[in-house]
């Protein structure tokens, strides 16, 4: 396939789409499928056939539209009219949509989700621009929206050096959490000596409460492949790996199909777009280990080994997969490449803040009215995200904290709701941008309990290679358990804080280094809650049961002689 073939394909597809009067887009992402999107789509198709509309109405399964808690979502596109979103669609209402809206032009009012809601208005879709609008399983749909033309442009008009420079100029930073400048990383790999180089897309999205990468992989797989291919060209790699979290079977299936289609059409594989550049992409399925989100552990896993990290330096850019220079970026980072090459670095850099450019996808969840997947410009305030986009915490509830970055992140309290969401501001608060999980908590959440939840997660996910993370997290978890069951003493709090700093500074990889963050950030903003647990054996949120007590406080109540009735509390253990 050449560039001209690509343009021809786009033309044909557009003609095909314009041939129908109306398109019914039905979200086929995991959350909507979980709420019954498949039967909704069947009902739509059935209604279309029953009413003999096959020639003029197309039912298309698409990727994510955003408001996941309102799924299944259906969009009705009629030429010359504004798109209309339907929420909580059932097979019955699907039938009505066809009969009333499509046939009689009478939209089904009670199921409409108004498109002028701040939920939509405040978003800025760069990475998810196609999501919810195209059929992720059809290459033509992607090509019709200028798919693969950025790759064609890069291959024809740009040198690898220029591609790296363009990415650098855009100010794009890694979306996996740490925010390392992407262009700089690409350039390091490009300059690294070595015949063989690799590109890896990290889709091992392990933070509980985050599903941005899954959505992108499920909703617009070709954009990711194209981004990876551009990266391959820029750094001089001919092989890419897409590491997909094991829990994402739909994403893996769609990506697999996309790779096969792209290879067949000469958009991947040998001699991409009839150039001298060859690029293969293979999928590797994760097997359930959070630590594999760490780049060196992920590479161990791709090589079929235990997912244990290795000390850096050497960095993957110098010595990665099979000791070759390796570029490893998050899936969402790769999602930004196509628009940057297509529209230029300046266009991209015009969105966002001085140091954090572009947009960020967040998975908004927890105690907010509308939960779901949102893409917002960097620098938007937390308040706008929660109250405008999310619709607030609901009548009778009080906002208490927003948790970002999952087990590596922190909690942001109400007094910092006006913080702009960018790398530096979040870090200054002891939270991190993270991969984009954003969980809202109200007064029903107890902060030491939340810290304990994350610490238990880290204990479970620690690979066991280095001592501070392997044992330190267990000891921190024990202390948090004592705090939340009423048997902690003031000394415990001191030991906990010491351990936090030590584990942070001495652990081998990011998992251990960031494991104390949830504790440190809750101690910083909600210290009085910890103190209430310890000094008064009270849980202000009413979550912790406080069934135990410190050893000596119980002396009077203890059974004295062996086999006397009464129980000695386990806190003595």
């Amino acid at each position: 396939m050449k560039r001209s073939d690509l343009q021809a394909m786009a033309r044909r597809e557009l003609e095909r789409q314009q041939a129908v009067r109306c398109r019914l887009l039905c979200c086929a992402s995991t959350p909507c499928l979980s709420s019954g999107a498949a039967t909704v789509q069947q009902a739509l198709e059935q209604a279309v056939t029953d009413n003999k509309l096959d020639a003029e109405v197309a039912v298309v399964s698409t990727g994510c539209m955003g408001p996941c808690s309102r799924g299944p979502m259906v969009t009705v596109q009629v030429a010359g009219q504004e798109d209309i979103y339907y929420e909580n669609v059932t097979p019955e209402s699907a039938q009505r949509i066809v009969v009333e809206h499509v046939m009689a032009n009478q939209p089904v009012a009670e199921k409409i989700m108004p498109s002028d809601l701040p939920f939509f208005a405040k978003q800025h879709k760069i990475v998810l621009a196609n999501s919810g609008l195209i059929d992720p399983e059809r290459l033509e749909d992607y090509v019709a929206r200028d798919g693969y033309s950025a790759l064609a442009h890069a291959l024809r008009e740009m040198t690898p050096e220029e591609v790296c420079a363009e990415i650098s100029k855009s100010g794009l930073r890694g979306r996996g959490g740490a925010g390392y400048p992407t262009g700089l990383k690409w350039d390091l790999v490009r300059k690294a000596p070595g015949e063989k180089k690799y590109v890896i897309a990290n889709g091992d999205e392990g933070d509980p409460g985050a599903y941005m990468d899954r959505t992108l992989m499920e909703s617009d797989p070709h954009r990711l492949l194209e981004g990876m291919a551009i990266a391959g060209y820029a750094v001089g790699a001919d092989q890419g790996f897409l590491y997909v979290r094991g829990e994402y079977p739909i994403a893996a299936k769609r990506l697999e199909k996309a790779i096969r289609t792209a290879e067949r059409r000469g958009l991947l594989g040998s001699r991409v777009l009839e150039s001298s550049f060859s690029f293969r992409i293979d999928i590797r399925i994760g097997a359930g280990a959070f630590v594999c989100g760490e780049e060196t552990a992920l590479m161990a896993s791709i090589m079929g080994r235990r997912g244990q990290p290795t000390p850096r330096p050497p960095y993957p850019a110098q010595s990665g997969l099979w000791e070759c220079p390796t570029l490893i970026n998050n899936v969402e980072t790769f999602g930004n490449i196509v628009p940057i090459i297509a529209h230029g670095a300046d266009w991209f850099a015009s969105v966002g803040t001085a140091k954090s450019k572009g947009s960020k996808i967040f998975a908004l969840a927890g105690k907010v009215d509308t939960t779901g997947l949102i893409e917002v410009p960097m620098g938007i305030t937390l308040r706008e995200v929660i109250y405008d986009i999310g619709g607030g915490v609901g009548e009778g509830h009080t906002f208490k904290a927003a948790q970002t970055g999952g087990p590596s992140g922190g909690c942001i309290p109400a007094e910092h709701l006006d913080t702009p969401m960018d790398y530096e501001s979040l870090r200054a608060l002891g939270a991190i941008m993270g991969s984009g999980g954003l969980i809202v908590m109200d007064n029903a959440s107890c902060m030491p309990d939340v810290a304990k939840f994350f610490m238990e997660f880290c204990t479970d996910e620690s690979c066991g290679k280095c001592v501070p993370c392997r044992v330190g997290t267990v000891q921190m978890h024990r202390i948090l358990e004592r705090i939340t069951n009423g048997s902690a003493t003031a000394a415990d709090l001191q030991i906990l804080e010491e351990l936090c700093t030590m584990v942070q500074e001495t652990s081998l990889c990011g998992l251990g280094q960031s494991a104390p963050n949830p504790v440190l950030s809750t101690l910083r903003f909600y210290r009085e809650e910890y103190e209430a647990h310890i000094q008064r054996r009270e849980c202000p949120a009413g979550v912790c049961k406080m069934t135990e007590a410190p050893t000596l406080a119980l002396m009077e109540a203890l059974p004295r002689r062996i086999r006397e009735l009464g129980t000695i509390p386990m806190s003595l253990a």
């Binding site: 995991t30 959350p31 499928l33 979980s34 709420s35 408001p67 996941c68 808690s69 309102r70 799924g71 999205e205 392990g206 933070d207 509980p208 409460g209 985050a210 599903y211 899954r214 094991g246 829990e247 994402y248 590797r284 399925i285 994760g286 097997a287 359930g288 280990a289 959070f290 896993s301 791709i302 090589m303 079929g304 080994r305 235990r306 997912g307 998975a363 969840a365 927890g366 105690k367 939960t371 779901g372 948790q403 999952g406 999980g437 969980i439 908590m441 959440s445 939340v450 939840f453 994350f454 997660f457 690979c463």
Partner: protein
């Protein structure tokens, strides 16, 4: 000399001596990856899909085919949560313990299921009827708290609805005339708390 030649020729191509056709699935993956040792995790994925869990015999087969040490294969198989070295229950109930679900009290659902069926999360009932798993995050945070019973996603659950859903799944297979499960129903009746 002759003997060694036949032996070496035999290993990759001939079907597994047990004649179990499921080994053919593993062989297909092995071939796809040209017996490269790096493919271990992919091969284990296939093996688990085909057999449901990774029994010892299977691990030995994979180790031999990839020419990897046994301890290496065992080390990898036990590192990743996806791989199970124990058979799973006939029914399974996965409770999401992601942050959004936790904030919406998923821990109470796990506790209720554990009490109701007398097993911890990650275990299978002694009769092999039910496995309860606490999952990391199912990524359906908008539907929190989420439960998956035998592959079916259930949204916005409570401890009571969760137990009801699991019970329904177990009873459905009992009604389908499974001898083992009807026995189980009796024992539940005796306990009287279900």
């Amino acid at each position: 000399m002759v003997e060694s030649r036949t032996r070496s020729a035999a290993s990759p191509d001939l079907p597994h001596p047990s004649g179990d056709p499921r080994f053919a699935l593993i062989d297909r993956t092995l071939k796809r990856f040209r017996f490269q040792q790096d493919a271990l995790i992919e091969v284990l994925h296939t093996a688990q899909e085909a057999f449901g869990f990774l029994e010892e015999d299977l691990l030995i087969y994979v180790a031999r085919q990839l020419k990897l040490p046994l301890s290496w294969v065992y080390g990898v198989a036990t590192f990743y949560h996806f791989f199970s070295l124990q058979p799973q229950g006939e029914h399974n109930c996965i409770v999401c313990m992601g942050t959004a679900c936790y904030v919406k009290r998923a821990a109470e659902i796990v506790a209720a299921l554990q009490t109701a069926y007398g097993i911890e999360a990650g275990q299978t009932t002694p009769d092999g009827m039910l496995s309860i798993t606490a999952a990391r995050c199912l990524g359906s945070c908008g539907l929190a708290p989420v439960l998956i019973v035998d592959g079916q996603v259930l949204a916005r659950e409570t401890p009571e609805t969760a137990i009801a859903a699991v019970q329904l799944a177990i009873e459905a297979s009992a009604a389908a005339g499974n001898g083992r499960s009807s026995q189980l129903d009796d024992s539940y009746d005796e306990e009287g708390d279900l």
